[in-house]
């Protein structure tokens, strides 16, 4: 990672692609949580990478890449919500208003510093204990150890497809499990 980071800083496009492959889907997923529109979420994520590449000299540490991308996505999400360009999911204007207010508040509270990421990891770690073992392993290797699908497949002696399937399953599980903390009602609204 450190080596890739130095290459990236020196303008190496292959190193840039390495970080793109690593984080792109996560940033799209992040945007989806607030904008509920795949095309817009993809556009937000792409914009984050464009800015990252054009401002690479400002990123000082390898951890800064993730923080930069999420910060860029956060401010784009905020802009879209504030300009009321979010897809309407509800007829009820009260829910719409409340949801957007809350989303703005959540986005604003995000700092993307080391502390926040480590707190969230703890939270996620507690939640994944309920996952089936293979799912757990795949998730930890992917998100905490930041390994590639290929590496995980090799290590666990399963196919890349199986790694992907387990990852999808883990994320679905995680969403349910996280929402369980709030209430069973919350679970219903955020599963899909």
């Amino acid at each position: 990672m450190e080596e890739q980071f130095l290459l990236f800083k020196n303008g190496d496009e292959i190193a840039f692609q390495f970080f793109f492959n690593k984080y792109y889907n996560q940033i799209v997923g992040f945007g989806m949580q607030f904008i509920y529109d795949k095309d817009k979420a993809k556009s937000i994520a792409q914009e984050a990478f464009v800015k990252l590449w054009l401002n690479k000299e400002k990123v000082e540490k390898v951890a800064g890449i993730k923080a930069f991308l999420y910060t860029s996505a956060k401010s784009d999400c905020l802009n879209i919500i504030r300009h009321k360009k979010v897809a309407t999911r509800y007829k009820n204007s009260y829910i719409r208003e409340k949801e957007q207010q809350l989303n703005i508040e959540i986005l604003k509270s995000m700092k993307f510093d080391a502390l926040m990421f480590s707190e969230l990891e703890e939270l996620i770690a507690a939640s994944i204990k309920k996952l089936p073992e293979k799912c757990q392993k795949v998730f930890v290797m992917r998100r905490i150890d930041e390994k590639k699908n290929k590496e995980i497949a090799l290590e666990l002696n399963i196919s890349v497809k199986a790694v992907e399937a387990n990852m999808t399953r883990a994320i679905k599980f995680l969403k349910i499990s996280l929402s369980n903390y709030v209430s069973t009602i919350l679970l219903l609204s955020f599963i899909f």
Binding site: L6, N10, E13, Q17, F20, N21, Y24, N25, Q26, V28, G29, F30, M32, Q33, F34, K38, A41, K42, A45, Q46, E47, F49, V50, W53, L54, Y70, Y90, K91, N92, Y94, I95, K98, E99, L102, E105, I106, S109, M110, F117, L120, L123, I124, R143, E164, M167, I171, L174, K175, L178, S179, Y181, V182, S183, I185, L186, L188, S189, F190, I191, F192
Partner: protein, 363 residues
Amino acid sequence: MGEASEEEIESIFKWIEASENNKQEFVKYKTAWAIADETNENKLQDFIIVNKRVKLRRLKITVSSYMKYAAILICIVSVISLWIFDKHDFVIPEDAIVLELKEGKVKIIYDNVSQDIENEEGDILGKQVSNKIAYQKNESSIEGAELVYHTLSVPFGKKFQLELSDGSSITLNSGSSIKYPVQFIKGKTREVFLKGEAYFKVSEDKENLFVVHTSKFDTQVYGTEFNISSYENDAIHKVVLVSGSIGVQLENTKDFRSEFVIKPNEMILINGLGEFEKKQVDVFNYIAWVEGVLVFQNEKFENIIKKLERHYDVSIENNYSAIRNNRYTGVFDVETIDDILKTFAKHRYFTYVVQGDEITINH
């Protein structure tokens, strides 16, 4: 799992709003969730889109910063092009040797061509013969006349020779430029201004001191042979004396200048802080470039890279940091850059990739 009905969702929001604790808890989980989530996109396809957007953005950035000045620029450019390039409408190539005449008028000097160097009135000031420009000798100079300067700039990968009006000869190394008067004036100090590296053979004139100014120091002589290396992006600037004697003045502060004299086979090293050091050296190593020979004498790899860049007009990226402080001794003359890198790689293994003018060294 089904979708929650709007009534159910409304009850969630009511629960969230019921207490600050509920809200904080929700914020925490939703954040964790947003960070944990990921989709499954076609990464290759989307990476190509990102690259396209980067290119578009670069274009936009350039255009928008120019837009502000566009109007002024167009006027200036049209005036300048009328005035500098006469009838010619051209862009100066980056790898051209350029002679800047009086008042910013620019002339491209092609290698191995013979031509007269004239002023605006059509008076012949000097002659170019292959890789050398020789100015007319001072014959009768008028007292109190005004100095007219020319500036010669040599790009990376090239060298060029000058013979000034006092008969002094200067070989300008690659990536360097020098400003000098077309005619020196009797009774006035002979002053030239150097950026980069040059080898001087100054004609003796006991009455008129010859001074080379660089950004960090001044070198004063009456008549001698010496080499000055004063590239802006080099950490160490150097003066080496071949014969005679010279005085080097460092401008420590506005009011205080330290001066010292060096003798043949001595070198003065000046660092970025204006500190200096005197050393006994083999002069050949420092003037070999005049004959097209590259000499490295117990030199750090990072400095060698800089010399290679200037000599071959390439840019070298070194990603193998451990090799930077390795020291090498060697002589190259007819070798290509590829031959040279291969030789270094034999001593301490590294790989390198050549893409046009860009070379990347990796472990």
